[in-house]
Amino acid sequence: MGSGLQQSPAIPAAEAATTPAPPTAASAAGESRARVRSWWSWILSDDPPGRLLLNAIMLLIFAAFLFAPFLFPGTKALGVASRICIFVILVASYDLMLGYTGIVSFAHTMFFGIGAYGVAILLASGWTGWGAVILGAAAGAAVSLVLAAAIGLLSLRLRTIFFSMITLAVASFAQIVAEQWRSLTGGEDGLTFSVPAILKPGFRLFAEPVLGVTVNGRVITYYLTFAVSLVLFLFMVRIVNSPFGRVLQAIRENEFRVEAMGYRVVAYRTMVSALSAAMAAFAGALMALVLGYNGPDATLSFSLMIDILLMIVIGGMGTMYGAIVGAILVVLAEYYLQNVLGAINGAVAGAPLLSALFHPDRWLLWLGILFVLIVTFFPQGLFGWLRHRR
């Protein structure tokens, strides 16, 4: 029986086109695997990435990030790795809403920004201890939670499109507030601050290099980011596989029926958007620590929202693990596609239009085209496709 149930149900092409989210953890596959009660299965909430190959790939990715400072030495590589970790949280928390519940919000960067400003404002006030970091992150998460709940209670009973438009307006308002309220946020210039001592680049944990790498404040910052991201990610995998998470998926499928079962849909939608906002705020707090700076462009801009959408769609929504795949691909593209484009640009330097198309700054154009193609032809995203391929 087990292996028969392992096959995920084939989705007819036409249907796949209208429901981008595939049958997720609530499939029989998770059920039969649950009988293997190993500790790692508990950690993964009985929802491993997939079968052998996919599990191996994800394990490899995990190992690469675990040893990143030693495998990919250098400030830039470490920055890229931190950014990926942070975006995994940001995108996975967005997936709670988009992929699992069917809510489209454009206010996700607002909560990211609130978390970042929480830490930045306290640290910039001159209080540089860990207390400031923890209090800032907690305050950012709390504000995000309350704000998301307020927006949710006001407008989550409306239709998908209406809600997404309202969040777009609210997010732009947040950006305006951040730019105008100079005394608190530093306006468009943002806030530069110094982080706790052991996170500073000059700090050395060991006198001697370990495996040829100096374990300085940057490496410690990375490991802090990695550890927090890992815990939050596993927490979110737990959320989607919990009884609460099952109700979310049911809402995505048929909200009318969920109501008749005694679940209050608005309460669930509000709850998930509040949880999601708090996760985004934690990601923002990490971002502030990594950058040692925060401003509207770093954590609030609409182009970040586009990044999140790119990541979730490319990775695959409604899968959680898609966030990892999407964040890796898009962040790498942001950093390294420019080099590729630069090379092509050099090769076609003679043709003015072509060279403009391949200008290093046009990486977003190519990712945008990829995005449209994926929404059109691969609505399950890369990870979803790998998971459900026969």
Binding site: A17, T18, P20, L98, G102, V104, L154, S155, R157, L158, R159, T160, I161, F162, S164, M165, I166, L168, A169, V170, S172, F173, I176, V177, Q180, F302, I306, L309, L310, V313, L353, A356, L357, H359, D361, R362, L364, L365, L367, G368, I369, F371, V372, V375, T376, P379
Partner: protein, 330 residues
């Protein structure tokens, strides 16, 4: 019987919001600036209406909310630059006739360019996502990114100045209130389009089909109308209007960047939410309301100007969760 009166009052209330705002602003602002600001608000409302009306009409008929609408605004603004550049001789002279001729040519070109792109856009992007709201939002956001990047490829990433034609630069005086000349032009164009749109919708056969389609698409088809073609027509018209809005807005701002549409589209969304998604009349009233609020608040409390429309939206949503003039659900 008092229930009937309450009902009547409830139905009339949304119409009263704008007049009340205008009247309430008079004592707060004082007569001379009030005239200036009211005209400025109406003008801004008209330019916003150009953009918003296309979006709301497309939504009303096909239940498609095109998040890429901003890109058509941006395109209109950039096409204006390219058209007015060779016509610099016309715009530099203080001849009203030559100036207006140049602007009207630019307006037509912006509409044509955005409408043409709209035609392609409907075929390539929109056609696959009818009836799938989630994919619609995603794919149009993706397309927005692509078009904006392509605009940068064609016109460069730098902001480009777009000076107003010579004779539309100054102000005219109405008593003691000064009114920018360009605003009168924008007001006139906006009103002309609004009137034309009203006439097309109420007096023509195609207008009849569109109004019927907003109510019940299937029945329109069952009566033998090829609604797909009507969709394409309305989409092209809607995007052409966005192009015209972009031309007017760019000329008004006198500086064009690749984000010019994005800035405007937030206001346009607020208008749609206030007016009721899909309602052209609601869109008209919403646009004027947003234009007036921005100008009045901008005068009274400049710091609040940008946020005032969000507050307006929040207030109206608390009062009417589906906007002032919601259309029936399909």
């Amino acid at each position: 019987m008092s229930k009937q009166w309450l009902d009547r009052l409830r139905r009339a209330a949304p119409y009263a919001v704008t007049p009340l705002l205008v009247v309430a602003a008079l004592p707060a602002i004082g007569p001379a600036p009030w005239v200036t600001l009211t005209v400025a608000g109406l003008t801004m409302g008209m330019m916003l209406f150009l953009v918003a009306s296309g979006l709301t009409l497309i939504f009303g008929l096909m239940e498609v909310l095109n998040f890429a609408h901003a890109a058509f605004v941006t395109l209109g603004a950039y096409v204006t630059i390219s058209v007015l550049r060779p016509l610099a001789g016309w715009t530099a002279q203080p001849s009203l006739v030559l100036n207006l001729a140049a602007l009207l040519i630019a307006l037509a070109a912006a509409a044509a360019a955005s409408g043409t792109l709209g035609f392609v856009f409907e075929r390539v992007i929109i056609r696959q996502v009818y009836g799938a709201p989630l994919r619609q939002i995603l794919i149009t956001i993706g397309a927005l990114t692509v078009i904006e990047q392509l605009v940068i490829v064609l016109w460069g990433a730098e902001a480009i100045p777009l000076p107003k034609p010579a004779s539309l630069r100054g102000s005219v005086f109405l008593g003691t209130s000064s009114i920018e000349t360009y605003r009168l032009f924008a007001l006139f164009v906006g009103l002309a389009v609004a009137v034309a749109m009203h006439l097309v919708l109420t007096r023509t056969r195609i207008g009849l089909v569109v109004r019927a389609g907003v109510e019940d698409r299937e029945m329109v088809q069952a009566l033998g109308y090829r609604i797909r073609r009507v969709f394409v027509g309305v989409f092209v018209a809607g995007t052409a209007l966005a192009g015209m809005g972009g031309m007017m807005w760019g000329q008004y701002q006198t500086l064009v960047t690749s984000q010019i549409g994005d800035g405007m589209i937030i206001l346009v969304f607020i208008i749609l939410i206030i007016g009721g998604l899909g309602s052209v009349g609601g869109c008209f009233i919403g646009a004027i309301l947003v234009g007036l609020t921005s100008n009045y608040v901008g005068f009274l409390a400049p710091k609040l100007a940008l946020g005032s429309n969000i507050l307006l939206m929040a207030l109206i949503l608390l009062w009417r969760p589906r906007g002032l003039f919601p259309i029936a659900e399909h």
